[in-house]
C-alpha cells in the first residue's frame, strides 16, 4: 500500500480558510444561508467550515446541520447487507434558504444525488450549492459539479482519498491511498 500526502498542516488550514472567504463572497452574513454536512465524513468538513466562519464573522449566526443519506442511496439491495444509517440533525428550516451542501470527497457524484433527494424532506431550498474539499476529477457517474473546491485530484478507481481531521483523527491531512500490486 502506498500513501501520498496531498495536503496537510498549514496548507490544509489555508485551503479551508480560502473556502470560507469564497463562501462569504456569495453569502454575505449568512442570514439566509445554511451549511449541511453529508454523513458520515462530510459533517467534519461542515463543522470546521462553520467554526472558521464564526471566527471571521462573530456577529453572524452560522447554522449547520448533519444530513444522512442512507435511505436515499441508489445501491440498496445491490450490496450484501443494508447500510446502517447515521443520525440526521437539522434543527432549522431549509425552506427558502440557500443551502451549501458539503462533503469531504466528491467522486462519482451519487452521494450528492442522494443528498439532494434527502434534503427535499426538509423543505424546498431557494438555492443549493456544493462545497467539497477534494474533487476527484474525471470520475463522475452522473453530471454533478462542485461550486467550491479545496483541491482537485486526478486518480484512478482503485485508489482511495482519505481525509482526516485535527479534532477527530489527530491531524489535518488528505492522503491518496494506492493498493500496490503484488
Amino acid at each position: 500500500m502506498q500513501n501520498l500526502t496531498l495536503l496537510d498542516g498549514q496548507k490544509f488550514q489555508i485551503t479551508i480558510q480560502r473556502l470560507c472567504r469564497q463562501l462569504i463572497e456569495n453569502h454575505n452574513d449568512f442570514s439566509g444561508s445554511v451549511l449541511i454536512g453529508i454523513q458520515p465524513r462530510g459533517i467534519y468538513l461542515a463543522r470546521r467550515v462553520a467554526e472558521e466562519l464564526r471566527k471571521i464573522l462573530p456577529e453572524s449566526k452560522i447554522m449547520q446541520g448533519d444530513l444522512d443519506i442512507t435511505f436515499y442511496r441508489d445501491d440498496f439491495r445491490r450490496q450484501g447487507s443494508p447500510l446502517v444509517p447515521n443520525q440526521t440533525k437539522i434543527d432549522f428550516i431549509i425552506e427558502g434558504k440557500k443551502v451549501i451542501m458539503m462533503d469531504d470527497v466528491l467522486w462519482t457524484g451519487r452521494t450528492i444525488r442522494a443528498a439532494m433527494d434527502a434534503m427535499q424532506a426538509f423543505g424546498r431550498p431557494a438555492k443549493v450549492e456544493l462545497l467539497t474539499l477534494v474533487d476527484r476529477r474525471y470520475s463522475r457517474h452522473i453530471p454533478v459539479s462542485a461550486d467550491y473546491v479545496g483541491i482537485e485530484v486526478d486518480s484512478i478507481a482503485s485508489q482511495r482519498v482519505v481525509v482526516s481531521w485535527k479534532d477527530t483523527d489527530g491531524e489535518d491531512k488528505i492522503v491518496l491511498v494506492s493498493e500496490t500490486q503484488e
Partner: protein, 308 residues
C-alpha cells in the same frame, strides 16, 4: 457492517442480541424520519410486499401498511375472509399465486402456530410473521422492548411483569424471549389456569398475586384475555378476573413506586385495565403504537436490504 443474521422474521427465537440492537438503532433513525414534514424515504421503491392476514387485525395491519408505504414499497393487501381461501385453496397455493405476481416479501398473520415457518420453507419470498396463533408475534415484542428502551434508556436490568392470559398469548412468548435476550428480568402473572405449566424453563418468575407482581416491577405489560382462543372456561367469570387481575387507578396509586403501564392492544377497557389507567401519564400505550411503525420500518428495511 453485518446485517441481520436471518432472512425471514419468523420469531424472536431466531434473533440474537446484535440483531435486536441493530433493529433498534435503525428504528431510532426511522423514528426521526417519521417526525419530519415529509415522512417518506425511497429505500424500498423497487420492493413489493403482500400483507396476508388470515386473522383480524387493526393495529398490526395498519402499522405494517404504513411502515411499507413510508419506505415507498408497493403494497398489496389480502384478507382471508374475502378471498378464495374459503373455496378450499391451500396456504402454499394461495401464497404462490400471490408471488407469481412478482411479490418480494410477505407479511403474514395466521391463526395456526408455525404457519410462517412452514411457508418460509416452501416459498421463495421473505416472510415476516405478524402473529401466528399462540406462538410468536415478533414485531410486537420488538416495539414493546423498544418502548421500554425509549422510556428508561436501556432494557437490561429492568423488571417487567406480563399480566394476563399467558397461555394463549403470542405477545407474551415473544416478549419473554426478547426481554430476556436484552437482559431484563421477566415475571408472568395471571390465574393458574392461564399460566403454562413449564413457563419457568424460559427463565421467568411466576406470581399469582397482582399487587406483589406490580410492587416488584418497573413495567407492567397488561394483556387482553383472548376469549376467541379459549375453547373451555379457564376462570369462573370476567368479573372475577377483573377483581383479581385487573389494573385500576387505586392499585396503581397504592404502589411504592411509579411503574410504567403497557398494553399491546386491543384494550378491553374495564377488564384487564381501567380507562383512567389506560389514559394516565404512566401509560405508554400510544407510544407503543407510534414506535410500532418505526420498528416495522426497521425490520422491513433490514430484511429487504439483503441481496436477493
Amino acid at each position: 457492517m453485518a446485517g441481520l443474521s436471518t432472512r425471514h422474521l419468523l420469531g424472536i427465537k431466531d434473533l440474537n442480541r446484535a440483531d435486536i440492537e441493530l433493529i433498534f438503532e435503525t428504528a431510532d433513525t426511522f423514528k426521526s424520519v417519521l417526525n419530519r414534514p415529509i415522512k417518506k424515504v425511497p429505500s424500498l421503491r423497487d420492493v413489493t410486499i403482500a400483507n396476508i392476514f388470515f386473522e383480524n387485525s387493526t393495529r398490526t395491519r395498519l402499522s405494517f401498511e404504513l411502515a411499507e408505504k413510508r419506505l415507498s414499497a408497493d403494497v398489496v393487501n389480502f384478507a382471508a375472509s374475502s378471498s378464495s381461501v374459503s373455496k378450499g385453496e391451500t396456504l402454499i397455493d394461495t401464497v404462490n399465486n400471490i408471488l407469481a405476481m412478482k411479490v418480494d416479501m410477505v407479511v403474514m398473520r395466521h391463526p395456526y402456530a408455525g404457519a410462517g415457518i412452514f411457508l418460509s420453507k416452501h416459498v421463495k419470498a421473505q416472510i415476516v410473521n405478524a402473529g401466528d396463533g399462540a406462538h410468536e408475534h415478533p414485531t410486537q415484542a420488538l416495539l414493546d422492548a423498544f418502548s421500554i428502551r425509549e422510556k428508561y434508556g436501556d432494557v437490561a436490568g429492568k423488571k417487567v411483569v406480563i399480566v394476563g392470559d399467558i397461555l394463549h398469548s403470542r405477545v407474551a412468548l415473544s416478549n419473554i424471549l426478547c426481554l430476556k435476550q436484552l437482559g431484563a428480568e421477566v415475571m408472568v402473572c395471571g390465574p393458574t389456569t392461564l399460566i403454562p405449566k413449564y413457563i419457568g424453563s424460559l427463565g421467568v418468575k411466576v406470581e399469582h398475586n397482582l399487587i406483589k407482581a406490580l410492587n416488584w416491577c418497573d413495567v407492567a405489560n397488561m394483556l387482553r384475555i383472548q376469549l376467541e382462543r379459549q375453547d373451555i372456561k379457564y376462570f369462573p367469570s370476567l368479573r372475577e378476573y377483573t377483581m383479581l387481575f385487573g389494573l385500576n387507578k387505586t392499585i396503581l396509586d397504592s404502589l411504592d413506586k411509579e411503574i410504567t403501564v403497557m398494553h399491546p392492544g386491543p384494550i378491553n377497557r374495564g377488564v384487564e385495565i381501567t380507562s383512567d389507567v389506560a389514559d394516565s401519564k404512566q401509560s405508554i400505550i400510544l407510544d407503543q403504537v407510534e414506535n410500532g411503525v418505526a420498528v416495522r420500518m426497521a425490520v422491513l428495511y433490514l430484511l429487504a436490504g439483503q441481496t436477493p
